[in-house]
Subunit: 497 residues, 2 copies
């Protein structure tokens, strides 16, 4: 029996996703289970498998199938899969093979140099690597092409449809609003008291509470699992195996509770992608921004709401130290929503988080655009932190060395976090038009909410582009007003201004 | 820079072992961690990766490198790697591609049919699959070739160098001795009392004890880990990542203790293979029989010895129910060494275990030889069980359906278990010439013992063939007398005859 070109194309995609699943499992294992000494050999294996994926993506067969099928199929999944495969093919084929190889080697070297530099607070030792990474990304952006700003070519990898033009309109507006709001919170006479949250939280109890919450969110434990790690993440191996990881800090329950819920939001997205997209590149979140909208929605809009703690505080107390028995819900709620400008992005609160992103966005845009150079970063970083957040790092380890992203050459990624916040606020507002979100959250019943997200976002995987989803669901493109409105209303109540 | 053919060959082996490691991790994950619903997609992925290994093993490049290098290398590792690669190439190339594919499909179907048949005690539903598996194996044996008996071609896959001629000389002799010994134990006036071992053993405590013992054996937890599973196994992903799994029965501590030590013996073997064999097919145990000699050595010769419990009974008691506080070591020791003919191989004691193997060996040898057919199995199985062990299964589920091996087409595998026992006894006797084994075991210090095994067996991986190891270490080939002697001395003391 001769297979049709369609079948051959789908088989090739299946082979590609098989390698993807193997790579995913290896990555999960390295970060959760693998013994220390096995890691070195494992890296070699990952190299072989990644090379294989690259070979498939740029194979003559792939080109042949795309050319033969493009415009000649009437199945929408097949059509989107072809678009996706072609975009990857073109993107990869535009980079000369020897440059790609050199870049992969540089990435892995740079990541370990970054880790060392951060450890030793020694930006200078990392600088030459970062310079090369920037240089490669400038070159790649030229290969890929762009209309207005070179940085657009990189943004496209994480958030297709969003450009410097869009961000430069939206971000300053949001920054102004957030900065005003931040000032109001800091000047408010009655400040939340986070010291009430102190105590000893045994790991096992935290794990039980985390599992209970995930299950309530609708996370399917028969199609996933929860494990401990150092830097939490969620990973989809296939749509029926989407794993969550978290970190337990026995001195601070917030790390695990909000971290698990955040990763749970990512996982819900991937668990609920339509199964007919399985074994294609479409069985994935459509963009980093939309992915982040799902995690941030659950972490902040749901789990940092008063309604959530109305329905979960009693349960939480069964896992918490005795001191919480006498702590009123109101005080607890205010404490977990304390706003305080700080140096570290991943520890930032809901209000200041986007300001951290803007610092990074402006710097990397200028770097890629060639307006500044790597050597200028430390000073500019500190200046922007002062301007936007009013705090200045004492050293580069808690400054521009804090994030891993640049060390992997991931320029264009950071804006996704802020976009995710805005999308989440926009989706939240829309959801409230048809669902009594507060009622369900106060009841601790998330079925309606989860179904709404699956219906409107999850199921499509990569079938729709990010702004297509926003338009289809909310009737408009990116609109930052919803986030500003949400934060204003929230903090007004908490800080009483 | 042009790579030499040697480099190309080694790179191809590295690629092959990369897929091997990915497959190994997927298998480990499916049996320990993977969520239920993800298994189906996972099987697809395993299919893709296994196909890849097959392609490499039989690739034109592989043939070309072998032909070019064979006889022209002066590095012993390279030389053995070439031999190994050529053997695999020839073996695989001799089977027509379409037959191989059909067989792989049959294997996976047959395994699930077997599981169902066992569940329902319905041999008839499994019979057609077993018939086909036997037919394929007869055909494969013809493709591969043999000197005297068709079954030799299959035996070769698991224990190169051991033939029907060897087994037909050794097994009857051992059987006679074991049967006599069995009768003597059963007629002894004072029988061990296994009821003293009853109690409730919480899983966590069993896990702690298991870990403590593994660590004492010299198992490197930085190059491995211990997890729970349904059917315990050890698996080497690379020489620095060799994992052990075990099963906790809260009513019977023996399952985990002896099971963990058994798998620990396998793992010690693979953890201590010379690292210069890494990323070649030589970084593996040399045969199933030698592998089993390592697990059985630790499980029986060490962990079921009186010396072991002299040094570990106090530790064990800290994890055991109170009833053990007043149980004398002697009674405990006799109870864990009770001999009793039984129906199930994996529950058999040290003395009767080899009799179970002989039943299987004789049946599969006759099946492959064409002297009997699958339909004859149930009756013959029961007859042989009666003849050798004096017990008869009430149904096929506890009879010929009990083992998974045949359902995967693994004919020729079973003898390895008995060979492993004999090798272990032979190695044990030799080790005692240079090390005071009893002294170290009673001291709970296994360093010397483990080092002896690494020195004489582990380090070589597949660099030496099984009988080459036996000859180099003990100065003779397979000799069953050591096993008979060991068991006779052991049970004489325990049963007092």
């Amino acid at each position: 029996m001769n297979r049709t070109t369609e079948q051959k194309f789908m088989d090739l995609l299946k082979e590609q996703s098989a390698y993807g699943e193997a790579i995913g499992l290896m990555a999960w294992d390295m970060r959760t289970k693998a013994p220390r000494k096995g890691i070195e050999g494992r890296s070699e294996v990952l190299g072989v498998l990644s090379q294989k994926v690259h070979e498939i993506q740029t194979s003559p067969e792939m080109r042949e199938y795309i050319d033969e099928l493009k415009g000649n199929v009437d199945d929408s999944v097949l059509e989107r899969a072809l678009e996706e495969a072609e975009e990857t093919y073109d993107k990869t084929a535009k980079i000369p093979t020897d440059e790609y190889r050199a870049y992969v080697t540089l990435q892995s070297k740079a990541e370990s140099m970054w880790a060392e530099a951060k450890e030793n607070n020694d930006f200078e030792s990392f600088r030459p690597y970062l310079e090369q990474l920037v240089e490669y990304n400038r070159k790649f952006a030229e290969y890929w092409g762009y209309k207005n700003h070179r940085y657009d070519a990189l943004l496209h990898n994480y958030e297709p449809g969003v450009t410097v033009e869009v961000l430069d309109e939206v971000f300053p507006k949001v920054r102004k609003a957030l900065t005003d709001l931040l000032n109001q919170t800091q000047e408010a006479p009655i400040q939340p008291d986070p010291s009430v949250l102190e105590g000893h939280f045994p790991k096992e109890k935290q794990a039980q509470f985390s599992e209970a919450i995930l299950a309530r969110m609708g996370y399917d434990f028969e199609a996933g699992r929860l494990d401990e790690t150092v830097h939490p993440f969620a990973i989809g191996l296939n749509t029926n195996d989407v794993r969550v990881t978290t970190k337990y800090d026995e001195k601070d329950f917030r790390t695990a509770v909000f971290g698990t819920i955040h990763e749970g939001g990512h996982a819900l997205y991937e668990q609920n992608i339509n199964s007919k997209l399985a074994f294609t590149p479409l069985a994935d979140g459509t963009s980093m921004g939309i992915h982040e909208s799902q995690s941030l929605f659950w972490e902040n809009f749901i789990a940092r709401s008063k309604g959530f703690w109305k329905s979960h505080y009693e349960l939480f107390k069964t896992y918490a130290p005795d001191s919480f028995q006498s702590l009123p819900l109101e005080k607890f709620y205010r404490a977990v929503n304390e706003v305080k400008p700080s140096l570290i992005r991943i520890e930032a609160d809901e209000l200041t988080y986007c300001l951290h992103i803007m610092v990074r966005y402006e710097l990397e845009k200028a770097l890629i655009g060639g307006e500044i150079e790597v050597k200028d970063l430390p000073e500019l970083w500190n200046q922007k932190m002062k301007d936007y957040l009013g705090v200045v790092p004492e050293n580069d380890a808690e400054g521009l060395l804090q994030d891993i992203h640049w060390s992997g050459g991931d320029f264009g990624y950071f804006p996704s976090y802020a976009l995710g916040y805005m999308y989440a606020a926009q989706l939240d507002a829309k959801m409230r038009e048809s669902i009594d979100v507060d009622k369900w959250v106060e009841a601790g019943d998330f079925k309606e909410i989860k179904n709404w997200l699956t219906q409107n976002v999850h199921q499509y995987g990569k079938m729709k582009k990010p702004l297509e989803i926003m338009n289809d669901v909310t009737g408009e493109g990116l609109n930052p007003d919803y986030l500003v409105h949400y934060l204003t209303e929230k903090y007004k109540k908490i800080y009483g201004f």
